[in-house]
């Protein structure tokens, strides 16, 4: 990282993209503080950890070069780059459809132009922590659907498992290829006031967003080529290849040239762009349920050359909709007979069915114990304090403090089914209190977190917004994590919700060498 190099004027077209120092005496002659003042005019610093600035208003060393570059760019140039990046997202078709309106209301996925920077040592700890956590969770799934030792030893209560919405009895006693249940994981991290990264939740079913990580990077490299180069950012572009290798490593025995496909719910799914993107980048077929048929417990796809056997399915369809014979009978998205073919060992489906058991928000509270139980290690990445409402004492505490806490439904995701205490109305709190008392197992509570904020660009000013981090973990032969992940941003001022379904956006994440 080179914070002290001369500031270059950059051009995304590569016009000024040389290593020759550009004459910036005019810029140097301008008193820097004025530019910085303009940049920081609405930059609020309070208790939350700021990714860029220290509490006394200084700039953290690894953000120095970014700030200098921005301060040196004329206002128009910044706007021009923003427009060029917008256009790039639009023509790449990285859009989402606003439901319930006429066609033509496609919007580009909201993103922020400033990268989020993560120093090498910080990343190192995150990486070790995630490998530890995912390994333990995989042990847990194997154990619960197998011998059940952790239940016999009463580390995790039995009723907690059996009452979980995503527990799949059909998986009991089934051996999965290489004992890998969770090949593709996205784990959400937050950074607290202290600067410490903690885990907010694990996504072990069908985590999405990795295509935004990859396309953000592509656009950012075009928008700030020199800055990117000067920072020495660790690459992430090989993710599709790693994913393909992971899937290949899980192929059934005796299938040396496995036919690997990605199963999508279809063009109306909000993550459809991602499905096509990954299939194309991996060079595998993107199939829908209607392309698949099973016969004698073997899965085939319909091709112009007749039926072709399928060996590995990277499944982006929820458990419930995957096979109408085994799961929800009213599903038109899945493939009839898929689960039996899977049971017979003739096809690998990943992630395995029933993995949602381990990302249940109540099970989350047990993850530190799970890590300790299987690995005999202390967690490297801590959990957020979580109240289980099945416990009387916790429940009473939570009900008395609903205005200070965040309450979440355990089986939901995407920011749905949530009560943010400090921003709630009395009526909402009453409703949640009633719901909690009716079904305590269905909810957990956590303190309202003052998680970190990173600078975002609004016009030509920087303002801080809350961010989280979702690194993507691949688990096949071994655990692989591309450095970085998707940084999600609560683009609305003061908002704590980063989910894209709730007005969140994303930004590129640069892990530095």
């Amino acid at each position: 990282m080179s914070a002290k190099e001369p500031v270059h004027i950059e051009s995304p077209d590569g016009v000024n993209d040389t290593d020759e120092p550009i004459d910036n005496s005019a810029i140097a002659a301008t008193p820097r503080p004025i530019a910085l003042e303009r940049l920081f005019r609405d930059y609020l610093l309070d208790g939350a950890f700021d990714e860029m600035r220290t509490p006394d208003g200084g700039i953290r060393p690894h953000y120095q070069a970014l700030v200098e570059t921005l301060a040196s760019l004329p206002h128009e140039e910044l706007l021009r780059r923003k427009q060029s990046a917008d256009l790039s997202f639009l023509t790449q078709g990285i859009t989402f459809t606003v439901y319930g309106r006429d066609e033509g209301t496609e919007r580009i996925f909201p993103y922020d132009l400033l990268p989020r920077l993560i120093a090498a040592d910080e990343w190192d700890r995150i990486e070790r922590g995630l490998i530890q956590r995912i390994s333990a969770l995989n042990h847990f799934l194997r154990d619960v659907y197998g011998e059940g030792k952790i239940l016999n030893d009463r580390v995790v209560p039995r009723d907690m498992v059996y009452s979980c919405k995503h527990y799949r009895r059909q998986m009991c006693g089934l051996e999965v290829p290489r004992n890998v249940y969770i090949a593709v994981v996205g784990t959400d991290l937050l950074r607290l006031r202290t600067g410490e990264f903690v885990v907010l939740e694990d996504n072990l079913r069908v985590p999405s967003g990795v295509s935004y990580m990859l396309t953000n990077r592509r656009v950012m490299k075009r928008t700030f080529p020199q800055l990117f180069h000067s920072y020495g950012v660790r690459p992430i572009e090989h993710y599709p290849q790693l994913l393909l290798n992971t899937l290949r490593s899980l192929a059934p025995e005796g299938r040396p040239e496995p036919n690997i496909v990605l199963l999508t719910p279809g063009v109306y799914n909000s993550a459809y762009f991602e499905h096509t993107y990954l299939a194309r980048q991996m060079g595998i077929d993107l199939v829908e349920g209607r392309d698949l048929v099973t016969h004698d417990n073997i899965v085939y796809m319909r091709t112009t050359d007749g039926l072709k056997r399928v060996d590995v399915i990277y499944r982006r369809v929820d458990d419930d909709f995957s096979d109408p014979l085994t799961f929800r009978a009213d599903s038109g998205l899945g493939c009839v007979g898929l689960f039996n073919a899977y049971r017979a060992g003739n096809v690998t489906v990943t992630n395995a069915f029933g993995t949602g058991l381990a990302d249940d928000k109540a099970m989350y509270a047990y993850v530190p114990d799970i890590i300790k139980y299987y690995l005999d290690e202390d967690p490297i990445l801590n959990n957020v304090k979580t109240y289980l409402l099945t416990e009387d004492k916790s429940r009473q505490h939570v009900l008395a403090n609903l205005d200070k806490l965040v309450v979440k439904a355990v089986g939901e995701s995407g920011g749905y089914g949530m009560l943010i205490g400090p921003q709630s109305t009395a009526k909402q709190r009453e409703e949640f209190a009633a719901a909690i008392q009716a079904n305590p197992r269905n909810y957990i509570a956590q303190p309202t977190l003052d998680f970190s904020r990173a600078p975002c660009l609004f016009g030509s000013q920087m303002e801080p917004r809350h961010v989280d981090l979702r690194p993507y973990i691949l688990f096949g032969d071994k655990v692989n994590i591309v450095p970085g992940g998707l940084t999600r941003v609560a683009l609305e001022k003061g908002s704590l919700v980063v989910n894209s379904s709730q007005g969140g956006g994303s930004k590129d994440t640069w892990v530095l060498e």
Binding site: E288, H295, G306
Partner: protein, 320 residues
């Protein structure tokens, strides 16, 4: 290749070809209306509708503005340029992983151009420029398809769709025009008649190509000969049918499965008809019936492709 994917690529291509055909014919009709002529405006618009296959829901009401808007921008008209571009993009979106990023971006630009809130204003400001830019967009897509996509099975289905649609459209166009074309009075061609003949050639972007082969001496029988039987001109019927056959052969080679005799026979028969019949024989017989039978055979080829590559029964596939 997945049957569903082949189906989408085929239709993506057909819809774009259809959009291009509509734009070109509309452009020619509007420019012919500028000159005074023996043919009334009513007849021209009616004939345009017939040669576009009488799209349902569009009728000539005497208002040229309403008609052009409906043919270009009306999303409720299944044959409008907007609808075709939308349908092509929807098909492409469903096989996003099969086409190149360049193809997708090109098609996406065309889509955004047609669906921009300013599109209608741009069209009114300069109709020729607007229509030319739509055709440009489609040409660029084809060029990008040929240069950035692997020339495998998917590309062949794109060609198959393009040539089958083109053959069908050209046969329809000629069927509509042949009667007036062949019944021109036997006198010195007036300037107006010249314009008519140029218009027909321009509907198939073939005026310059025709002149290279026959000089600017326009005669109805030569025009028919050129548009029906020329081996080397991409908008001639014979060329399109050759394209269909080549694509079918290539698909068979990549897949390894032999298409049913019925499909090969139908395509082969149509090819032979255009290869070995002379224009004199066609004119001596019934040109209208000849063109009609070409259309019918195109339909039959489409149905056989469907039955064999896309909608085959599982039982028949397992039996192999």
């Amino acid at each position: 290749m997945l049957s569903r994917v082949a189906d989408s690529l085929y239709w993506m291509s057909r819809y774009l070809e259809r959009a291009e055909n509509t734009v070109r014919q509309l452009d020619v009709t509007m420019s012919l209306l500028l000159d005074p002529s023996e043919t009334s405006a009513d007849t021209r618009w009616q004939r345009l509708l017939t040669s576009l296959g009488n799209p349902s829901g569009v009728e000539w009401t005497g208002d040229a503005d309403v008609m052009t808007r409906s043919l270009i921008f009306d999303p409720a008209n299944p044959a409008s340029v907007t609808t075709c571009v939308y349908a092509a993009r929807e098909n492409a979106r469903q096989v996003r992983e099969e086409i190149s990023t360049e193809q997708w971006q090109r098609l996406n630009r065309l889509y955004h151009q047609m669906h921009s809130p300013h599109a209608q204003a741009q069209f009114r400001a300069n109709m020729n420029d607007f229509l030319a830019s739509v055709v440009d967009g489609i040409h660029l897509f084809k060029g990008v398809s040929d240069t950035t996509m692997i020339h495998g099975e998917g590309w062949q289905f794109i060609r198959l769709g393009r040539y089958l649609e083109r053959a069908y459209a050209t046969a329809t166009l000629l069927e509509v025009y042949q009667e007036s074309l062949l019944n021109l009075p036997e006198r010195e061609h007036s300037g107006y008649q010249y314009l008519e003949l140029v218009g027909l050639l321009r509907c198939c972007t073939s005026f310059e190509a025709y002149c290279q082969v026959y000089t600017a001496d326009l005669s109805p029988d030569r025009i028919l000969e050129f548009l029906l039987l020329n081996r080397d001109f991409p908008h001639a019927l014979r060329y399109s049918i050759d394209g269909v056959r080549q694509a079918l052969d290539a698909i068979q080679r990549t897949g390894g499965r032999r298409p049913p005799d019925e499909l090969l026979a139908t395509a082969g028969r149509l090819h032979a008809m255009l290869r070995y019949t002379t224009i004199d024989e066609i004119l001596a017989g019934n040109p209208g019936a000849f063109l009609h039978s070409i259309r019918e055979q195109c339909k039959q080829i489409h149905e056989l492709i469907y039955r064999y590559y896309v909608q085959y029964s599982i039982q028949s596939a397992l039996a192999v």
